[in-house]
Amino acid sequence: MFDISEKEFCVMIPDIVGMKNMKSILDPLPKDNFRRASHALPRECLVEEMSLEMLAHATEGKDIFSLAERIYFGQETCARKLFSARNVAEAVSLAEGYGKKLSLVVPYAGERDMADIRSVLEFFGKECPGGEVVVNDLGIINVIAENKLPVKTVLGRLLSRIKRDPRFGSFPPMDMTALPDDFSAASRENISRSGFSARSFSDFFNKLGISRAGCDALPQGVDMSDVEGFTFDVYWPWIYVTSGRSCQILGADDSRKGKYPMESDCGRECLKFEMKPPRQGRFYSVIRGNAVWMEVMYPGNMAGDFSRFIYEPVIPA
C-alpha cells in the first residue's frame, strides 16, 4: 500500500443506509466471530476487514471513522440507482452530524436520467452552496456550467481512463494464463501514463474551473508526475474496470431481457445479486451493480499530486 500520510482522508459511501451505518462499517468485526463466519462471506466482506487492518497499521491504530475528514456520497455508474433529493438532504445532515465534509458523487446518465440528475444537483447547490460534486459525464458538466449551479465540479475517476485489467501483474501487461511473455518494454513503460499529462487536456478542464480529478490505485501504478494544474483523488481498494447501461445483473435473471435490458424495468436486482466470471485473473473481479470492479490491495507506484485518499470500505455500487 502507498503512503497515505498528509493526504485528506475520505471515505466513499454509495447509499443512504451506508451513511447511517458509517461508523460500524469502519469498525472491524470482532475477530473471533469474523473467523467463524468467514467461509460464508463474499470476498467484499473479507476485503473490508483486510483493508481496515491495513489502514490500522498505516495509521498506527487510529480510529478510521475519526480519521475521515470527508465523505464521498453516491455512486458513479447507475443513474437508475440515483438517490432522491430527500436522501441528499439526509446525507448532508448526517455528514454534518459526523463533523465531516461531503462531496456528492453522481453517475453518468442517459437522456432518460438527466432531469432527475439535474434536480438533485439543483437541490444540492441550494443545500450546500459551493459544495463539491464528483461528475463522470461530460453532459452533466455542461448542465452545471450552463445553469450556473453553485457547486464545485470534480472530475470522477471514470474520466481518468488509463487502462486496467484484472490480468495485469506488477510488470504489466501480463496475463495469468494466456498472454505471451515477450510484451514489449515500451508498452510496459507507457501503460501507467495518463491523458492528464497532456497540457491541452488539463488546460481544457482548468479553463472550465476544474482542477481536481479522481484516479484509481492501479496495479501497474499511475504516473501523474508531469501533470500541471490538477490535483488528484486516489481510490482504494476497489478499482473500476467497466460498466454499461445494459445492466448484466438485470438481464441475468430473465433470458427474455437478455444481454441488453435497456428497455426493461429495473427491479433492483443489483441489491440481491453479484456475478463472477467463469475464471479469475491475478486480481479478483466481480460485477456489482452494472459495473465490473477489481480488488487491488497493493497498487503500483502512484506518482503525482494525490492530495486525497478515498477509502472504499465496500464496493461502491
Binding site: L41, R112, G139, I140, D165, F168, A186, N190, I249
Partner: protein, 341 residues
Amino acid sequence: MDVVVGINGLTTDDEIKPLVEAGAEEFYMGYIPEYWSGRFGWEIAPNRRPYHEYNYLSLESLSAAKDSVKRFGKKALLAVNEHEYPPERMSEAVRMVRECVSLGFDAVIISNIALALEIREAGIDVPFHISIGGLVNNYEAVKFYKKHIPGIRRFILPRDLTVREIRSFALKSKDDDISLEAFGVGDPCAWSDGYCLAWHSAGIAPFCSWFFTGDRKLTDLRSFFDWRDKIRSGDISFVDSVEPIKARAKFGGFKPSSERDDFLADIVRVCGLCAIPLFKKWGIDAIKVPARGGEKRDAVIDLVTRAMAAESPEECKALIGSEEFCAGSRCYYNYPSEKDV
C-alpha cells in the same frame, strides 16, 4: 441514411466492391504506423484496437485502401479514437492525422477532447465524428462538444441508449448542424465503450468477454446483506448464522440448429434491425455495422440496407427469420414500435 462499415488491414480491393454493392456508403479504418508501435509497443494502439490485422500498418497500404473506397465514390474515415493520449502519444496521433488528412480522408473519428483541440491547433481542418468512446450518452454532452470543439460533423450514439433516448437525440438535433449514427447490427459487447477501461489486448480476448461466455456465477447475496445490516446495527449474534451463498441459474441463449442460425449467431451476432425503420423516420443519418473486417460482411450490410427500406419492426424481424434469435439476449433494442416510444 448511410451504412457505415469498418474494414481491416486484411481487406483487399476485391473485397470492398461487394460491400459497396450491398449498400455501404462510408468505410472506417485504423492505422498503426511503425513510428507508433516502435515507440509505444504493439500492445498500445491509437484506436483501442491493438490487433494488427485490424489496422493498416503502413501509409502505403492505408492509402491504397482509401483509394479503393474513393474509387467507388464512397467516404473514407480514419479512427483515432483511443480514450487518452499522454503527451508523447498525443504528438504522434496528431502526426498520424496530418498524414492521413493529406491523403484525402473525409473525417476522423475521435474520442478525446484534447486530441481534437490539438488537431485544430495544428491547423488541420478535417471534420470530426465523435466516437462511442467520446462519452455522448445524453444530448447535454453533444452541446458540450459543440461548444468547445469546432468542426464536429457527426456523433456516433453509444450502443446502450434506449430507442426513446435515440429519438430524443434526433428531435433535439434538428436545429443543430450535426448528423447522428446509431448501431444496427454486429457488436456483441454490452458495456459502454467510453466507460470501458478494460484492456483490449492483441494477445488474448478482451477481459470483458469473460462475462459474456461460459458459466457466469450469479450469487444471491440477500442473506449476506441481511446479516451485514444486523451486525452493523450492533447485533453480532448473527455472525454464526449467515447462510452460505448459493449460485443461481445461467443465462439463456440462442442455440443455432441450421446454417442460417450459424450465420445469425456468428456473423450477425447481435441485432437492432427492427429499430432501423424508426431511426429512419426520426432522421438518424447513418447506421453503423461495427467491427473491422470479417466474413460475409456484404450479407450483413445487405440486411441493414433492406431494413432501411422496411416500413415496420415486423418486416425487419422477417428479414432475420428466427423467432428464437429475436427472443432475447441477441436483441439490442427489444422490438421497438411506434406506440412504445
